[in-house]
């Protein structure tokens, strides 16, 4: 449970204040509702490239990092398909420096051609380091492309290819900034001993004068309902075969999302989970296997990825996995098992409340997704899921015609 106060500035910026007098530092988090789903399909990777540019100078601040580090702070950011989140922390005394820095880059970037040029190189090396130079690094690219035919979740935030990043120009960047990086499209969340300052006055001083932008009307292509199972087989230079399966699921904000999330816990959260016990320990088909939900604002994917033991046929692995999923569709899980996964989920939720950085971020993300208040309701939502809910959601979720399967095989 995180107590907080929420209000809005005249320019539409949502502000969340979370008092915590036990910590010497303060955390400031800003989340913009823009992600790779808002990109042009022929210029993918812009939202993430843009995140890099946010550190490359604003109108009055040449070097964001240097000023922040001088004030004893550190920061980072990440870009998802739906939103872009910037977070920093620093000694409470220097909180105004954080506001000055964040508000200046929200107000107006410097748009320096040299910075764009260099960050394009940096991002291409990030593309290489995180994906192209990693074993199985292209797996999720193949999967998204197979599962989505029209929706922009077809590509990952890093972009479809380094060529798209190379092709970005300053006009793309400016247009992106003035469309999305406006106060009315952002949430500012602050956690720390903020009662020691006139926090609201300072927020107003630095953020209040930033002009409001036009309200962005998102008009994304709707992914048509999938009606037959999709399949792809590839051969790569990797040590062992990998099986990847994705089922279509709903939105993060749907009422049944919590049930779907618990299904992924039943399958792979902890050593006693079903995939671990059945397929790794008993049948010894996989050396490791896990499942997760993408939990996105538009319809997402329930993804299962497993690495096969040598000598196991991938079709056999596929059948064994489907059998575990089918069991969830036909047999109600026990009360014991449901309590178990709820207990684990609760621990995980509580664990996201310990550092001020986490608290500020959680509230900002929940507000971006729908409303910050949801964070404090989450535990009860998990508690209220029933055995029947799990049975029902599994029947809806694990349909062969809604699946995309990849056999990612080792070249012999």
């Amino acid at each position: 449970m995180i107590p907080f106060e929420k209000y809005q500035l005249d320019n539409g910026l949502t502000v969340i204040l979370q008092p915590d007098e036990t910590t010497p530092i303060v955390a400031v988090d800003i989340c913009y509702l823009v992600g790779s789903r808002d990109e042009n399909p022929n210029k993918t990777g812009l939202a993430h490239l843009f995140e890099h540019l946010m550190f490359g100078g604003s109108k009055n601040v040449l070097d964001f990092d240097t000023v922040l580090q001088k004030a004893g702070g550190e920061n980072n950011a990440f870009t998802t398909v739906d939103y872009t989140n910037y977070y920093l922390s620093l000694p409470l005394k220097n909180i105004e420096t954080a506001f000055y820095l964040e508000s200046d880059r929200m107000n107006e970037l410097a748009f320096l051609p040299k910075i764009l040029d260099i960050q394009k190189h940096v991002v291409i090396e990030e593309f290489n380091q995180s994906y192209l130079n990693q074993p199985y690094g292209d797996l999720l690219f193949l999967l998204k492309d197979l599962a989505y035919k029209v929706h922009p979740y077809q590509w990952n935030p890093i972009g479809k290819s380094p060529n798209h990043i190379k092709s970005m120009n300053m006009n793309d960047v400016k247009e992106f900034f003035y469309t999305f990086y406006r106060p009315n499209n952002a949430v500012l969340s602050i956690a720390g001993d903020i009662h020691k300052f006139d926090c609201k006055d300072l927020v107003n001083k630095w953020f209040g004068g930033i002009p409001k932008g036009n309200v962005y009307k998102r008009n994304l292509p709707v992914e048509p309902t999938q009606s037959e199972a999709r399949f792809l087989e590839v051969f790569r230079n990797v040590p062992c075969d990998c099986l990847c399966k994705a089922y279509k699921m709903g939105k993060r904000t749907d009422n049944d999302f919590i049930s779907v999330d618990l299904v992924s816990d039943i399958l792979s959260n902890g050593q006693s989970s079903r995939l671990q016990q059945k397929l790794v320990k008993s049948q010894q088909i996989f050396s490791s296997i896990s499942s997760y939900t993408t939990g996105t604002l538009d319809n997402g994917l329930f993804i299962i990825i497993g690495y096969l033991n040598n000598g196991v046929e991938i079709t056999q692995a596929d059948n064994a996995l489907v059998e575990v999923l089918n069991e969830l569709k036909t047999t109600k899980i026990s009360e014991y098992e449901l309590v178990k996964v709820k207990n684990k989920a609760e621990t995980a939720l509580i664990s996201s409340e310990f550092s001020v950085q986490d608290k500020a971020m959680q509230l900002a993300l929940y507000e971006t997704i729908r409303q910050a208040e949801d964070f404090n309701l989450e535990t009860n939502k998990y508690r209220s899921v029933s055995q029947d809910d799990i049975l029902n959601i599994c029947s809806k979720l694990f349909k062969a015609e809604q699946s995309s399967t990849i056999y990612y095989k080792a070249k012999k």
Binding site: T23, D65, V67, V122, E125, Q129, N237, S272, Q284, S287
Partner: protein
């Protein structure tokens, strides 16, 4: 209207860290260090055992011994243990390091007794079931096969093998070694090292007086005996330059560095600051030069990594294959600049403030403090170590850093590993 051209004043600050855990020593010698905070609805507990890879004779035994603790005891099967841990809503992580291994668990406070009972069982009565060991070995082979496909993993391993050579820190597990791990090795290793004198218990969060009583009840009967410390190998091998071509790699991984000191060494503060300046934070010289100025890499960093008995200093990066020479040249260039050019007052202030700020972050709640406490105890440092460190940093001058960098970096003896 706010005048944006006027930056707010940056307040100078120094942060003096102060760690004050409650300490209880059980009759059998187990030290118990606690950081209570009644407002947190969680407990983190760490059982640390001086039984890392440093002490093993055969590769892979120390890690396997630890990982197999949760796979069966005289009264509980692997599944029983997994079910119990999950049902109480806990997360158990088995960390195997070079010097220490640890069972790191977090759980809701109401499960405290159960967790202790279970952990104590793992520590006192493991059976190392053969079937579970076979599964562990098989999965480990697959995991390592994937790891060694990564240029960065291969480069790191090769770097450590080269600079440490026959020293236990330089002995790296390869796939072929796994077949040689036997159940009897684990039993023997367990007998020799898992006893009270080698165990420390740490906990933070919602802990009350009964916590210590519980620790006494469950861990108080673990026998204490002493084992001889292995002889230290002090020989330092020749620096080497090694290149491994990987045809399908898009990038090359670079590791450049050498053996270095431990945290016990009086030079550690100045070396740590020098390493920070060179590549220890986002605004470091290497990041500015290689990433922000030339766009050669996504990430480049320097690290002074200290084990208990030795340390290592290195610079690491993944760069485009065609830009390896340029990047390597710039890395040496920055090392030389660090040794030859006096740092500006501005940079010195900045890096000191950054360091105070990072230390302050270690005091954002008891769980953050726990990590710092663990590090302190691991290296047998006094609790005042971090405050002394800050005092030392406060008075450090640009001249001190120049001299420190000269002692830290022996430019004629840099090991250089490139994979990709």
């Amino acid at each position: 209207m706010t005048d944006r051209t006027k930056a707010p004043l940056i307040h100078d600050f120094v942060f003096l860290p102060s760690l004050n855990p409650q300490r209880h020593t059980l009759d059998n010698g187990i030290d118990c260090l606690l950081l209570p905070n009644a407002h947190l609805a969680m407990v983190q507990m760490i059982v640390q055992i001086k039984a890392g890879a440093f002490y093993q004779e055969k590769l892979g035994v120390a890690t396997a011994c630890l990982k197999m603790l949760r796979e069966g005891t005289t009264s509980l099967s692997s599944v029983d243990i997994a079910e119990q841990l999950d049902y109480i809503g806990s997360y158990l992580i088995c960390n195997a390091g070079k010097d220490y291994v640890s069972l790191h668990i977090y759980f809701p406070p109401k499960a405290t007794r159960q967790v202790m009972c279970l952990l104590a069982d793992l520590l006192k009565n493991p059976t190392f079931p053969q079937q579970q060991l076979d599964i562990y070995k098989q999965n480990l082979k697959n995991e390592l096969a994937v790891e060694f496909e990564k240029t960065s993993y291969k480069a790191r391993c090769c770097f450590m093998e080269t600079i440490f050579d026959q020293h236990p820190y330089g002995r790296i597990l390869h796939i072929d070694d796994i077949d040689h791990i036997h159940r009897s090795d684990l039993e023997a290793f367990f007998q020799q090292y898992y006893h009270a004198k080698n165990i420390k218990i740490f906990a933070a969060g919602q802990i009350d007086n009964s916590f210590v009583e519980n620790v006494e009840e469950y861990f108080g009967d673990i026998v204490g005996k002493t084992n001889a410390e292995p002889t230290l190998i002090t020989h330092i091998p020749q620096a080497e330059k090694k290149y491994f071509e990987k045809q399908d790699a898009v990038q090359s991984s670079i590791f450049i560095g050498q053996r270095s000191i431990t945290k016990q060494d009086p030079d550690w503060p100045v070396f740590s600051l020098a390493s920070l300046v060179l590549g220890g934070y986002f605004g470091s010289r290497l990041m500015k030069n290689i990433r922000e100025d030339k766009g050669l890499a996504y990430h480049i960093y320097a690290n002074l990594h200290t084990f208990v008995h030795a340390g290592m200093f290195y610079v690491a990066a993944d760069v485009n294959k065609s830009q390896v020479q340029e990047s390597v040249g710039q890395i040496y260039h920055e090392m030389e600049v660090l040794q030859t050019a006096l740092m500006s007052k501005e940079e010195l202030t900045l890096v000191k403030n950054y360091l105070y700020g990072s230390l302050m972050k270690c005091f954002d709640g008891v769980f953050a403090q726990l990590d710092l406490l663990l590090e302190t105890e691991k290296h047998n440092l006094p609790l005042a170590f971090w405050a002394n460190y800050v005092e030392c940093i406060k008075t450090m001058t640009a001249d001190d850093l120049l001299a420190g960098a000269a002692r830290m970096l022996d430019m004629d003896n840099m090991t250089e590993i490139i994979v990709g």
